[in-house]
Amino acid sequence: MTSLTASAALSKGRGQLVHIRQHSLLTARLRLLLVIAGFTLVALAALLRLTYIGFVQPAPQTRSLAEALLPSRGEITDRNGAPLARAFPAYALWYNPKAMGDSGSPLVKSPEKVAARLKAIFPDLDEKQVAEQLAKGKAGYLRRRVLPEEANQVHEIGEVALELPQETDRYYPQGNMAAHVLGYVAADGHGRVGMEQVLDKVLTDPATRGTPQKLSIDMRVQGALEDELRRGMLMVDAVGAAGIVLDVDTGEVMALASLPEFDPNKIDAAGEKNMFNRVTNQVYELGSTFKPLSVAAAIDAGVVTDLSKRYQSRKPIAIGGFHIRDSHPMGDTLNVPEALIHSSNIVTAQIADELGPKRLKKTMADLGMNERPYIELPARGFPIWQKSDWGRLRGMTVSYGHGIAVTPLHLASAYAAMVNGGIWRPATLHKLGPGEAPRGRRVFKASTSARMNQLLRMIAVFGTGRNADAPGFRVGGKTGSAEKPGNGGYRHHTLVSTFAAAFPMDKPRYVVIAMLDEPKGTQASSYQRTAAWNAAPIVGRLVPRIGPMLGVKPDSSRDIDLSDLRPLVHGGE
């Protein structure tokens, strides 16, 4: 400052300028720091916000173009490629009271008017309830599934609050068909009950969900089976029915039905009660259908070498305080074919006694009766099976299907092994290509199997299976009518009627099981409850429907050769 006072006026002004310049530069430079700090803070805020978004948002989905083109969940088809379950984009009707964006009324018109308009579009709508929901102003679904045409009509109402979000949905184009095989997709997006649960990973994995999963089911056969089972069930007023069509050489399940069924398109409480699968999950004492298996075991073991050998059939067998009786008198003696044709417990028990419980148990175990059935479905019932050594009585009762309880699927696999030359194979719901069939294990000799084919055909021609003998289809099979166990013994009037069949017997290709749970005697069954009158006719009607689709054409000029057995039975030659 001293310099300023000492200087001349001119230099005073100049000096001042210099100081102002230096001062200004210094101020500017210092305040540049503020600007820098400001920008750095803003950039820091942006970076922090980015980090926050990165950590808070849901896990990033890796998305590829291929994935974007895939369905949200893979398709399931039958063996011929007909779709059984598919993903499709659907609309839902969602009420969003905040859609208008202001604090006024969420609707332009009154809730009653809007509800009336909606009722005109959806005739089954509960108008009063919807009007209440609209008036309450609470967000929620008004309807889960809306067709595109209906969506347009909802748009025309002109209410902003009625939103139509697109949602991918699971659709079962065949409705109830094969519901137990397919299962359904729950609200969490994962499958339940059937193959939807089994294939859940494959159907949702982007790498695999592009290719439809082929099941072994043939949709046409499945439809026919369900149709005939339902008809048979209604005719005799049964509480339930089960049926299965199995390829004897590969173990592929061509059709599998459990009635009453549920609707996978609409899961409700009534449907959930019916999700129980009678074919794979419920075990039954299947009665006389076990007799051919026992006889086959005896023939295979060399115990029965002469089919014309006669066994006494008049006296009930008394053993361990228990009497083995027949349902009606069948004469003094019966040979083996006659015993099967008339379904004699007494004779079968004698044969089993000669075979011995140990060998019978081994055969039954070889047929898979001691473990859960082999199939992909998650719900599989465990048989009632005595693990410890069988006594004489146990052997005798098992031989005619009591004292052992298995699922209908167990029986189907065992019959397949009996008729296909003696090889047991696990059942599968996946379509198998040529050469993919499992090797299986030998249970019976081929000669035993050939003999059993003759005997099964004899039953259908001369015995209790006559109602199943569809002309030209060479059906063979065995009836079984077992009393259901109740409190303290068997209940004499509640039966499980089963018909286990195979066709064509000259070269068996398919096993068919039809089972009715608690059939009543009605006019349609000639007031009978036994399988010959209710289950066998189902097979008799079913086989002509499914045979041609499965490549078995009716041919009256072909049949299995019965000439050596026919003289052994009354009514034969």
Partner: protein, 407 residues
């Protein structure tokens, strides 16, 4: 403190014989290359490259949105146009950066006057786009405000640096008057975003020019009061601020932008694989940052933020050892416009700022805006050119703080 009088050039005094500019074009280029801020140039070109890719990513979304049954814009319609604009813009940037500082200043002052005149004309012969009258159409359509921004910064720096000649001039009042005129025109359009930019730019320059801290506080308070007034009497602003504070309605632009930005995760969905961007209006302009987020991921978003910060810091750091007040003011004003617009756009995309209708400079698609931004950068390069062989007084923070009380 008796000191020898330093040499002070006087106005009007013929300058001593200066070395003439070389007339040879080749040596001119050589000198330009030596003097220009090459780091800044590199950063800007890198940013423009990011912009090309980003516009390529966003182009299908906007092209499909704007296609009609009669005219089908190709998916890359905006990308090809953007490349053309960028090419022109780079020419403008390099051309302007070759101007000597005085020429750049004079040209900008003239341009400022011309653009204020153009702004005056906008209400009468302007073209209305998207509900705002901001464009003039002389063969090509352009926004006078885009070109006014850099010119305004230079002109204000020039006015403020008058104080070096005569400390008694009320330079802050004069520049404030200029600002008021410009802002009045801007609010007539209406264009709140650019108004905020002009005010912010002016505030930074006035602050650097030595406005007392008390005055800054007063101005800050005035700004808040002004925003409050705008909120109460200015529909456009009120709606946008309301939407920002209230979260908006279900599917407004901000919400769509948020969904787009969050759709990609850290690494993004990949080029042209984004889905959300398809439902985003203005994907190629205002919300291109969100599109970058979806297709290239949050990490690249962070990189973009850092590139902008690097450009801003590069310019500001170099000003510390600058000893010409006009240069400091002009450069800081220009970079405030550029960086301010960039960060406002980014913050809007990140839902930290109300929606402003502002593009991301040098990245967003735009004809006149890309050229104007490159013009800004060109001016910046021109005013910050310096002879690398002249050493300057180094700035030390401690020295500055010690000297301050004495001065």
């Amino acid at each position: 403190m008796t000191t020898a009088r330093p040499y002070i050039p006087r106005a009007g005094e013929p300058s001593s014989a200066r070395p003439k500019f070389p007339q040879n074009r080749k040596t001119m280029l050589k000198i330009w290359w030596r003097e220009v801020d090459r780091v800044l140039l590199g950063l800007v070109l890198a940013l423009m490259l990011i912009g090309s890719v980003a516009v390529a990513a966003a182009s299908p979304a906007s092209a499909r949105r704007l296609s009609t049954s009669h005219t089908d814009l190709g998916d890359l319609y905006f990308f090809w146009y953007h490349l053309r604009w960028q090419f022109l813009a780079i020419l403008v940037m390099l051309g302007v950066s070759m101007f000597p500082r005085e020429w750049a200043r004079r040209m900008s002052i003239l341009l400022c006057a011309a653009m204020v005149l153009a702004l005056f004309l906008v209400p009468f012969i302007g073209v209305e786009v998207n509900g705002a009258k901001r464009w003039l159409n002389f063969g090509i359509r352009f926004q006078p405000s885009e070109f006014l921004k850099p010119a305004f910064a230079i002109a204000t720096a020039w006015i403020l640096s008058w104080r070096m000649r005569d400390p008694n001039l009320p330079v802050i009042m004069i520049s404030g008057a200029l600002l008021t005129v410009v802002c009045a025109f801007m609010m007539m359009q209406p264009n709140l975003g650019d108004t905020i930019l002009f005010v912010g730019c002016w505030l930074v320059m006035v602050m650097l020019a030595g406005l007392p801290m008390q005055g800054i506080v007063w101005l800050g308070g005035g700004g808040v009061a002004l925003l409050a007034t705008a909120y109460m009497f200015y529909d456009n602003a009120r709606h946008r601020i309301d939407a920002f504070l209230g979260g908006g309605t279900a599917y407004d632009q901000v919400d769509l932008a948020r969904r787009t930005l969050m759709a990609g995760g850290w690494t993004g969905s990949g080029l042209w694989l984004g889905i959300r961007k398809m439902s985003l209006p203005e994907a190629h302009t205002d919300y291109i940052f969100s599109v970058i987020g979806e297709e290239f991921g949050l990490l690249i978003c962070g990189l973009v933020v850092l590139v902008y910060l690097a450009i801003v810091l590069r310019v500001l750091m170099r000003l510390f050892d600058e000893d010409d007040l006009f240069t400091i003011l002009a450069a800081s004003g220009l970079i405030t416009l550029f960086g301010g617009q960039a960060f406002i756009n980014i913050l809007v995309n990140l839902q930290l700022f109300p929606s402003k209708g502002m593009t991301l400079p040098l990245v967003s698609y735009g004809g006149s805006s890309t050229i104007a931004q490159c013009f800004t950068i060109g001016l910046l390069l021109a005013v910050t050119r310096r002879n690398p062989f002249l050493s300057r007084a180094k700035f030390s923070l401690r020295g500055a703080l010690e000297k301050r009380p004495a001065a």
